[in-house]
Amino acid sequence: MTAPALRMQGVGKSFGAHRVLDGITLDARQGEVTCLIGPSGSGKSTLLRCMAFLEQHDTGWIEVLGQPLGFAPGPSGQRLRLPTAEVARVRRGIGMVFQQFNLWPHMTALGNVMEALRLVLRLPRAEAEARARANLARVDLANRAGHYPAQLSGGQQQRVAIARALALAPKIMLFDEPTSSLDPELTGEVLRVMRRLAEDGMTMVVVTHEIGFAAQVAQHLVFLEEGRIALDGTPAEVFRRPWPPRLAGFLEGYLDRGAALLAD
């Protein structure tokens, strides 16, 4: 069994007096899709952002591809903050897709995808452009390379964002509610791309409200509640009836939206 792509042990996070995450211990295995689901305010987005070190975890340890992220135990067991350069190095293996897409508005789709290839990987222009176009093709947007984000639909913008992250050849892709900002008819195109990525073997951690997607595509499902892991297992295990009352309460909101595909 290979080492987990991402490992969290006893991770906690507070915002002021509010404890948003508490005692989070989970593994995301390589080649698997891990979905984080749960009610609003359960801390799923914060948890994902901790995986990217966009939020700093107060307690516990995070390891990405075997490397400590952000903090490491010191020689006498104390909690050492790792230097920014070290964090940036570990981040290179991670790609992130945001709920708000966060495409840079003053660059075309191609420009967005090429930017890090040129500035970070320092690829020559021709190679960067070729690689960018290839990744845009991967998300079915080869013919929109010259468009600005303002000229693209939400679904197209999110797919460009996925291409932008993919172009850097990450080992893990993090998705923070990738379809929550989209009109319902546009979520399908994004979920299709994500499904293809999963089938190609990408390690993915996805925070989502799309329970159907989670049930069908994920190999690992984590149900979060009030900052703690309430359920952790395969979709079959998590969704086995009878449902715990809290899970039932949460799922009730989704049942009449076509999530009756859940395994029994």
């Binding site: 945001f98 708000q100 966060n102 495409l103 840079w104 508005p105 500035l119 303002a150």
Partner: protein, 218 residues
């Protein structure tokens, strides 16, 4: 109005207009540059620097331009800074405009969506690269209307430079008006000239805004 008089004064008026332009455009550029430096200083210079600058810039924005000009022109020699009227005028415009641009640009930086910066962080861009490639361009696009407005404000303030004897348009035309006793006509001509300049600058600004509309909406 006497047409011969009009023709005779044309060279002088043109010279005055030239001086106005020589005060306005370089003054505007210096103000924008100074404003950017100050905005960056407030953003990245630490809390103490931010607080000190906030106070100083608030003082510059809260006092009349004329008083600042007098301070520079008449007070300057007392601290070893002897400026001729044009130098004082240019410096005055740069400082006054710079204080306003600093505020405008600071607001612009704060208005860049945080997610765009996080996306840059996650894509591996260094802080310097993020500033150069993401923050600065987006800030510039966001502040375009305010920047154009500031350009018009500074252009109108060049008239005040006449009070410290900079030979710009207002000084020239009022001089002609008083020496020919046709002051009202002169004042109207002066007003109309500025009016046209303002409208032209405004139209140019709106044209620029239309051009970047495709880029700004996302």
């Amino acid at each position: 109005m006497n047409s011969a008089l009009l023709l005779d004064s044309l060279p002088a008026v043109a010279a005055g207009f030239g001086v106005t332009m020589l005060m306005w455009l370089p003054g505007l550029s210096l103000a924008a540059l100074l404003g950017l430096t100050l905005a960056l200083g407030r953003q990245y210079g630490g809390r103490a620097m931010d607080a000190v600058l906030a106070l100083l810039l608030g003082a510059v924005r809260g006092t009349p331009f004329l008083v600042q000009l007098f301070l520079l022109y008449y007070g300057g020699p007392f601290i070893g800074l002897t400026l001729d009227p044009a130098e004082a005028g240019l410096l005055g415009l740069a400082i006054y405009g710079g204080a306003y641009f600093a505020e405008i640009m600071r607001g612009g930086f704060l208005a860049v969506p945080r997610g765009h910066v996080e996306a840059a962080v996650m894509a591996g861009l260094s802080p310097a690269q993020t500033l150069r490639r993401i923050l600065l361009p987006e800030m510039a696009l966001l502040i375009l209307p305010a920047g154009v407005n500031m350009a018009v404000v500074l252009m109108k303030e060049t008239a005040v430079l006449s009070i410290i004897t900079v030979p710009e348009l207002t000084m020239v035309i009022t001089g002609i008006g008083s020496s020919t006793f046709a002051f009202t006509e002169a004042a109207f001509l002066l007003a109309v000239t500025y009016w046209v300049l303002t409208e032209a600058t405004g139209a140019a600004g709106r044209a620029m805004e239309r051009r970047i509309a495709t880029v700004r909406l996302a």
